[in-house]
Homo-oligomer: 230 residues x 2
């Protein structure tokens, strides 16, 4: 009963909305998912910037047929799966605002609450335990999961890299929603979506990004994480 | 300036003490370090159990010349590097007691403060932030690092496995001490000791063990972690 034996759902062609789709991580995920054939709706406070990003991503190598469209944040919520890739600062406010539109949706939080000082990155204390748990509280009618925390935006954006040598840890209390997100991660060449626990265990996954930043600093790298013996 | 280019110190033959050396993780590390040629002192509250464990490990495949000896916890502190692999419950009390003996030593904390309930493992709140930071506070005269959190005791103990497919995240504010511990991890075949930040970033590394336990439960595996693109 290793990883390969787990039957994941077929997510081919599912529409993906990305809140914060004009930021580095959101844009990088948009690129990879578009390359994998998913229609992607870029959400942003500015419809103009969303349209610009959509046009840029559609022009990248490996993307065919203009699958990416710009949308307001509201438009990005009209998707089968909605990724939240906004800065931690605006996380609570945006989700509170969009809660009615996200009702019933599979939501993927990939926000890392981090602070930065002279000694580098460090996790911020989050009253709810984690960004993902905050999302769960603010979106009681949504199917909240967490994933894509550790994926390097630089690597995602690098069109020369065909296959990403990294796994994605997927968290969620709703097993069906988590399986969808695992399958979505698996649509990106090289990635596996590995189930890694309930949302109460999301805090350390978010915070681990501070360690990966430390690794990147020390070794001048853009590292990822693989789960071995799986 | 990738991982290979970092000059790590030569730790060949350094003596390693293991507090909690009769537990699964301590014993597993004792085995691998003995196999790599290090004299190992097994610490335990019971000198008898320490001696038993030492004899058992000395008899395992790949270990030559009886490098492992039983010792009281005090005896295990008389080593170049002292690994703390005790249960979280007794962590603070033991370190307070041994603080004078650990003065000046390189200490490697590998304790994961976890709780368990029906839904699996979850991190416990630690007032100091992490087991490693608690160790740092209790051992102001020691050179405290943290490492070996994610290494599966089952895999360590499996004599059939020659090479461990896992990296070890090493944390520490004392760069020289951290480099020694990185080098020590690198003495175990297959492992790399990757510098992963200061002790203030140890909490999430300890807590991530809860996620790896969730992965193991879901996939019936004994997983490890690799840092990719390094």
């Amino acid at each position: 009963m290793g990883f390969d034996d787990v039957a994941l759902p077929d997510v081919t062609g599912l529409t993906v909305g990305i809140l914060g789709g004009t930021g580095p991580q959101g844009r990088g995920l948009a690129y990879r998912l578009a390359r994998a054939g998913h229609p992607v709706r870029i959400g942003s406070r500015s419809a103009e910037r969303a349209a610009e990003t959509a046009a840029t991503v559609n022009a990248l190598p490996g993307v065919t047929g203009e699958p990416v469209t710009g949308a307001g944040n509201a438009g990005a919520c009209e998707a089968d799966i909605v990724i939240v890739a906004v800065p931690w600062d605006g996380h609570a406010a945006l989700l509170s605002e969009l809660a009615p539109l996200l009702a019933g949706r599979v939501v993927v939080d990939c926000v890392n609450p981090l602070g930065f000082d002279k000694q580098g990155a460090h996790p911020l204390r989050v009253a709810e335990g984690s960004a993902a748990q905050q999302a769960e509280l603010l979106l009681p009618a949504s199917r909240v999961t967490a994933a894509f925390h550790h994926v390097s935006a630089v690597t995602l954006a690098d069109a020369e890299i065909d296959s990403l040598d990294t796994d994605v840890l997927v968290l969620g209390d709703d097993r069906e929603a988590a399986a969808l997100v695992q399958a979505l991660a698996g649509r990106i060449t090289g990635m596996r979506g590995v189930y890694a626990g309930r949302l109460r265990n999301a805090g350390q996954v978010e915070a681990l990004t501070a360690n990966l930043i430390a690794v990147n600093r020390r070794y001048k790298a853009h590292v990822g994480i693989r789960v071995t013996d799986l």
